[in-house]
Every structure is written in C-alpha cells, then in structure tokens.
C-alpha cells in the first residue's frame, strides 16, 4: 500500500501540490485525473523519489520515502516500474539493451537468461523481433510499448504510468489500455495511471482520483465517477470550459 499524506511542493512561484493526501491499495489500478499543469506527473515523480517534497510523507508498504538515503531509495525503486510520457528510451541503445539494462545492472543473470527475459517481456507488450532496433526507428505506439516492457522487466510490484496514451491514435491508445489491464491481471501489480484521457481512464481504472489545486478533490470507483454530481468532476468528465475549473 502507498500512503501519501500532506504532500506539498512549490516549483518556482507555483504551488503545485498543496497538502495532498492519497491512499493507493495494493493490487488496484488507480487513475489520477486532472487538467494539464495540476501536478499529476509531479505526484508520480514524488512516489518514485525522483522529486523531493517541501513537506509531507510517502509510505510505500512500511518504508517512509522522504528523508531516505539514495541507496535505500534505490532498493525501493527496484520494486517500481515507470512508463514515462515520451517513453524515455535511451537513444544510444537498442530496444533489447534498453529493456535488459536493469537486469544487467541489478541481477547476476547470464546473457542467455537476460535475452530470454527481454524477448518474453517484449512479446508480452506485442513487440517481436525489435531487440536490435534503435528506438528512433520505432513509431510512437511501439516506443510506449518498449518503454512498458522496460518498466516490467524486473517484475515490479507497482507500475507508474505517466500519460500512457498521450500522442497516440485511438486504436493504439486502446492497445495500451488493454496492456495496462492485462499486465495488472497477469502480474497482480498495483498501477498508478496519470492521464487526462477519460476514455482510457474508464477502461483501466478500478478507482479514480481527481487532482485540482494541489489536492485530491475527489476519489471514487468508475461507477461513482459516472454518477457523481461533484461539479469539478462533472466538468472534467464532460470536458466543458464552463464551471469551477478555470483553464490556465
């Protein structure tokens, strides 16, 4: 379980997170919604320790992340996988090297076993025969899937998805959504998905949390989201420019 309490972060003059509280249950897929610039990605980067908050606490199982030394934090990070918005594949490496990097760095595995695991994870995300290809030669959807293969190669307990469908066509978006669901079922992982794509949110979520003004202003199941009368949530679902959410 991930327990976030009073998370506060100011970037320059902007108060991005302002005392945010959120609980993420083990094994669930929670979608964090919110307009652009409300700190969804910032929240994700705090959960994996890429950013340090000004105040607050993040507990992953029994480990308090805030104040941890880099070495301890790295042990926690090994339990996570993260899919970045632009996939963040290393340009200088092939897809196979990208996916196998964590295995080579952290596990004493033979090259044969690494190759086997890399091929297997690439197949899980629907990519075959791309091990020797450089990321620059892949399409947007293939890059995301390769990024996902890299995120799951160490059998993480938690997968963080930063805008997994942004920039993809509707069909490829659906492929990614199905992958998120199938990985959750296959691996039993906890998934945190940051998005503003409601179609994707409805398809993958067990629960949704709405982020606005640096706080979580609404949490609920998919059914609760569909029927909610919360004005912030309703405006976001309906995609209306009229309402309490002011476009930035």
């Amino acid at each position: 379980m991930i327990k976030i309490r009073g998370l506060t972060k100011r970037l320059g003059r902007k108060q991005v997170l302002d005392g945010l509280d959120l609980d993420i249950q083990t094994g669930e897929t929670i979608v964090v919604l919110g307009p652009s610039g409300t700190g969804k990605s910032v929240l994700l980067k705090h959960i994996i320790g890429l950013m340090t908050p000004d105040k607050g606490s993040i507990q992953v199982d029994d480990d308090e992340l805030i104040g941890m030394k880099e070495r301890e934090l790295n042990e926690v990070r090994k339990r996570f996988g993260m899919l970045f918005q632009g996939a963040a594949l290393f340009d200088s490496m092939t897809v196979g090297e990208n996916v196998g990097l964590s295995l080579r760095e952290h596990l004493r595995m033979s090259e044969q076993d690494i190759h086997k695991r890399v091929t297997e994870r690439l197949e899980w995300v629907g990519l075959k025969g791309v091990e020797e290809v450089k990321p620059a030669s892949l399409s947007g959807g293939m890059r995301k899937r390769a990024g996902l293969a890299r995120a799951i190669v160490m059998d993480p307990q938690v997968i963080l998805y930063d805008e997994p469908t942004t920039g993809l066509d509707p069909i490829m978006s659906d492929v990614i959504n199905q992958l998120i669901r199938s990985l959750q079922q296959r691996m039993g992982v906890t998934s945190v998905v940051v998005t503003h794509d409601m179609t994707s949110a409805y398809k993958v979520a067990d629960r949704m949390a709405m982020l606005y003004g640096g706080k979580v202003v609404f949490t609920g199941t998919v059914d609760e989201v569909r029927t909610t009368k919360d004005p912030l949530m309703r405006q976001f679902i309906e995609g209306s420019s009229e309402g309490p959410i002011k476009p930035v």
Binding site: I48, F84, G86, F90, S102
Partner: protein
C-alpha cells in the same frame, strides 16, 4: 530613472551575478564530490569507459592531427622569421619541441577537444535530461553520475594525454617538414636540436596539464548537460556554456599550472 536608481540597479545586477557564479561553483563542487563517491563503481563498468574513450579519443584524432601538423608548420615559419638576425637556425628544432610539448600540444589539444567533446557531452546529456532519460535511469535505481558522468570524466582524463602525445609528435613532424623543405635546415640539424634541449620534465609537465584539462572538459560537459532546462533551446545554451567554460578554465588552469610547475616544482 535618476542616477542613484541606476547605481543601485547596477549594484544589484553585479551582486546577483556574483552570487549565481558562487552557486555555480558550489554545484560543480557537488558534482565533483559525486564523481569521487561513485568513481570506483563507475570505473568498474569498464565497457562504458572504453566506449567513451573511443568517442573522445578516436573521434578527435583526425582533428588533432590536422591542427597539430599546421601548428608545427607555423611554429617553424615563425621561429625562422624571429631567429633571422639573432639566433642560429640550428636551434629551430629545440624551440619547436619545447614550445610544443610544454605549451602548444596540451593547450591546443585541450581547446580542440573542449570544443568538440565538451559540446558533444553537454548536448547528449542535455537531451537525455530534457527527454526524461536521466529520470528514467534514476527510476531504474541506476545512479546517473555513476552511469553517465564517471565514464565520461575518466575517459577524458585518459584520452587527453594520449591525444597530446600524438599532437606533440605530429607538430614536431610538421615543424621538421617545413624546416627541411622551405627554410633550408637539414634533417640532421633539426634532430640534433630536438635532442639537445629535450627534458623529461617538460614532457611530464605537458602531460600533467593534459590530465587536468581532460578532467575540466569532462566535468564541464557533464555539468552543463545535467543543468539543461527546457527543450532544444536549453540544449543549445548548455552546449555553448560547456564549450566556453571548458576553454576559459583550460586557459586559466594553464596559467596556474605553469606557475606551479615551472616556478616551484621544476624551478631549478
């Protein structure tokens, strides 16, 4: 705006610049501390160091060859012109050799490599930073200083002296070629001049400088790469800053090292 306002604004601008400069020195020092901390595990990943040695050394070799060849050639022409009425031409080999191994070889190599490699390191790491590849490494529990910075700094420290040895040899050869073919000095006289005033301490001093210059170029490239903010514009700014900082620091440290080496260590 009156004169007093202008003076206050000017003072504040200078003060802010000074504090920014101090902060930058602090951040570079922290990076150097991290390089020290992750030095052993970073060097243990030998394949990364070798990869960078290839990129820095082999990639710069032809540029160093061309520049050194003409440096030696110009040195010969200049020496012949300045010697014309004062010093016998038999000393031309000595003058070229000593000026090349003490000063021209290491400094020109450092300026060439600083321009080429400093820019390339800053651009590569800067692009990795703005496309979240550095964050991805950290998310994978891989320390970016260990994985990206240490191999580049170590490779620059190793390859600068190697390139300097090439530069020295080729510049001396370039000087010989011009001296023999256009100035009328015989090969025997030129080589005799080389031998007559060759001191190992000169060679050591030049190579020691090259080691320091390598450290500066690698560190500046990595520092400005990691400090990149924004998109393509940020990468461009980081690249320019890395090259400017490398070249300026090479020249400043050259002056400091010249004083330390030739006025204290090898004074006698």
């Amino acid at each position: 705006m009156n004169g007093d306002d202008l003076a206050v604004r000017g003072f504040l601008a200078i003060r802010n610049r000074f504090f920014n400069w101090l902060a930058e020195i602090g951040r570079v020092t922290i990076l150097l501390g991290d390089v020290g901390r992750y030095f052993v595990p970073g060097v243990r990943a030998m394949h990364l160091v070798i990869q960078q040695c290839h990129a820095i050394g082999v990639g710069s070799l032809w540029l160093v060859v061309v520049v050194s060849m003409f440096t030696g050639a110009v040195s010969a022409v200049q020496a012949a012109y300045q010697f014309s009425t004062v010093v016998p031409l038999k000393f031309i080999g000595s003058v070229i050799l000593r000026s090349v191994i003490i000063e021209l070889g290491p400094v020109l190599t450092a300026l060439i490599v600083g321009g080429r490699v400093g820019a390339s390191i800053a651009a590569e790491l800067g692009t990795m930073k703005v496309t979240e590849q550095v964050d991805a490494l950290r998310a994978m529990a891989i320390n970016p200083v260990r994985y990206l910075v240490v191999p580049r700094v170590v490779a620059a420290i190793i390859m600068l002296p190697v390139l300097t040895v090439f530069a020295d040899a080729i510049a001396v050869f370039g000087g010989w070629f011009v001296a023999v073919t256009t100035i009328g000095v015989s090969s025997h006289t030129y080589v005799l001049g080389l031998k007559q005033f060759f001191y190992y301490k000169d060679l050591f001093s030049g190579l020691f400088k090259a080691v320091i210059f390598g450290g500066i170029i690698g560190t500046m490239g990595c520092y400005y790469g990691f400090a990149t903010e924004g998109g393509a514009e940020g990468v461009g700014i980081a690249t320019t800053r890395a090259v400017v900082a490398s070249c300026v620091l090479v020249l400043i440290s050259d002056y400091v090292l010249a004083n330390v080496l030739f006025r204290f260590i090898f004074a006698s």
